[in-house]
């Protein structure tokens, strides 16, 4: 039975699949990795009840962007484990490799990284910061942020873009994530 009419996301997915693979292949420089991400998108929308989505096609791209980042993080963690292995931080227990990387250090580093992202907000001019915080941290839409700040939507977008640009400049590529 075709349930795509009842599930607009699934319908959009079936229609957009080729476009999604092409986009993520461009991002990941690998058709195989792109297929993985697009498959992840399918698993996610088939298993989760996402409710109403305003623009299903755009939503699939956004979902894919998040899933791609998750995959990159996992890969980086795996690489870090391999490195740790070579440096002798792994011990064998019952034949299985167990990471000996001190969890406190890892947690500390992760928290430091988040602190850095939060403290970087202090360096933004007030309006720019407020627009960015209302949108990103409080989850208001551009229009809601505009109403909140009493400025136009396009002014909000300019503030948010300028904020992101400044944050990219402030935060080194090693600090920013994943």
């Amino acid at each position: 039975m075709d349930d795509s009419s009842a599930k607009p996301l699934l319908a959009a997915y079936l229609r957009k699949r080729a476009d999604l693979v092409r986009y993520f292949a461009l991002r990941l420089k690998s058709a195989a990795l792109a297929e993985d991400v697009v498959q992840d998108i399918y698993v996610r929308i088939a298993s989760a009840d996402t409710g109403q989505v305003a623009n299903p096609s755009a939503y699939l791209y956004r979902l894919g962007a998040n899933l791609m980042l998750d995959r990159l993080k996992q890969r980086r963690r795996a690489e870090a484990r391999d490195e740790a292995w070579q440096e002798g931080f792994l011990v064998r227990m019952g034949g299985e490799a167990v990471a000996e990387d001190p969890p406190a250090d890892a947690a500390f580093a992760a928290r430091q990284r988040l602190r850095r992202l939060v403290s970087a907000l202090d360096d933004l001019p007030p309006q720019r910061r407020r627009a960015f915080e209302l949108h990103k941290l409080q989850g208001l839409s551009h229009a809601e942020t505009a109403a909140e700040m009493g400025i136009s939507r396009s002014a909000v977008e300019k503030h948010i873009i300028a904020a992101l640009q400044q944050l990219v400049a402030l935060i080194g590529p090693e600090e920013d994530g994943a």
Binding site: K16, D19, R22, Y23, L26, R27, A54, N55, S57, A58, Y61, R62, A65, N66, L69, A110, R111, L114, R115, L117, V118, S119, L121, D122, E133, L134, K136, L137, Q138, G139, L140, S141, H142, A143, E144, A147, E148, E157, I160, I161, A162, L164, Q165, L167, V168, A169, I171, P173, D176, G177, A178
Partner: protein
């Protein structure tokens, strides 16, 4: 950004930031993503710039980061923005209480580990929020308010950047509690008081206990005032002296119960007070601006409040796109 074509921000980094914001907006369409793809395909530099900007953008979505930025976790506006502002007091209190119960431990850990890292609390227009600080002090934030809190082993400092807040301070002689607002420092020894900063007018009202109001550390000049219960200090920021007098604490703290009290106030003053709470500003026409009003206004929605003003006073509201004008009737 120009919807049809590429954004114009000069270089790949600026353009990349613009694309990230565009396509990750909830208003983004399929066409936006197709246009992005075409933009990315043109150069490696663009792909690298976009990847960095997008990774950072998504990093700010991490729930852990949001908790660090706002340790109480009450980052979601208490009333959804989609509906007109409404101050639902029992719900505000209940929600705040449940958040505090759920997150007190986590917030405490963040505050102490991070000390003296600043924690910032913000309310939107029309929003009122309760915050329990790590030291047990209760702060109720009024509409459109921003405070920064630093709690360290040697002292507790709150900076009121704008708006109004009521403080119910937990006594701790080892760690003095102070509020910095405008050019003044309000020092407290365990009491309940209200500080507001609107349009460069600082007002301090004491409900119980004793506070001292004096210049910021390192700023000298203005005298220090000692206020006890029922005292109120008013001051234009930067002025040589402040004005003190007796005030009705009930009037000054009425907002914490969801209403405002006016005594012989002009309609212009009433509108100014109400405009702190509502998204669409009220403007009395010149011919009615000096009409006098005494009474209590519940803050239960702009339309309802405007309706009541129409009932109490010889005015009628004319709604425009940007403002509501009160015209003579």
């Amino acid at each position: 950004m120009n919807r049809a074509g590429a954004p114009t921000y000069g270089d790949a980094k600026g353009e990349a930031a613009a694309w990230v914001v565009r396509v990750h907006s909830d208003a983004a369409t399929e066409d936006d993503w197709l246009a992005l793809e075409a933009w990315l395909a043109a150069s490696e530099t663009r792909q690298t710039a976009f990847e960095r900007a997008e990774r950072l953008w998504l990093a700010y979505d991490e729930p852990e980061l949001k908790r660090l930025a706002q340790p109480q976790g009450v980052v979601v506006p208490i009333e959804p923005r989609r509906r007109p502002m409404r101050l639902a007091w029992p719900r505000v209190a209940a929600m705040a209480a449940s958040f505090i119960a759920a997150l007190a431990v986590a917030a405490g850990v963040y505050l102490w580990r991070a000390a003296p890292t600043a924690q910032t609390y913000v309310t939107a227009v029309g929003e009122v929020r309760d915050v329990r600080l790590a030291d047990g002090t209760h702060v109720r934030l009024n509409t459109d308010t921003r405070i920064t809190v630093r709690i360290g082993p040697g002292g507790r400092r709150v900076t009121l950047e704008r708006g109004e807040a009521m403080f119910d301070v937990t006594h701790d002689p080892a760690r003095p509690f102070e509020v910095l607002a405008g050019d003044q420092r309000v020092a407290d020894v365990g009491t309940r008081f209200d500080v507001s900063l609107y349009a460069r007018m600082l007002t301090v009202t004491v409900a119980s206990g004793v506070v001292e109001v004096g210049d910021l550390p390192g700023v000298g000049g203005a005298p220090t005032y000692r206020l006890t219960a029922g005292d109120q200090l008013r001051r234009d920021i930067g002025a040589a002296v402040s004005v003190t007098g007796r005030a009705s604490v009930a009037d000054a703290l009425a907002w914490t119960n969801g209403y405002l009290i006016f005594r012989d106030a002009t309609l212009a003053q009433v509108a100014r007070a109400l405009n702190r709470y509502f998204a669409t500003p009220l403007r009395p026409a010149a011919s009615v601006a000096s009409l006098r009003f005494s009474g209590v206004l519940m803050l239960d929605g702009e339309d309802t409040v405007v309706g009541r003003l129409e009932g109490f006073m010889p005015v009628r509201a004319v709604r425009g796109a940007q403002e509501i004008v009160l015209q003579p009737r």
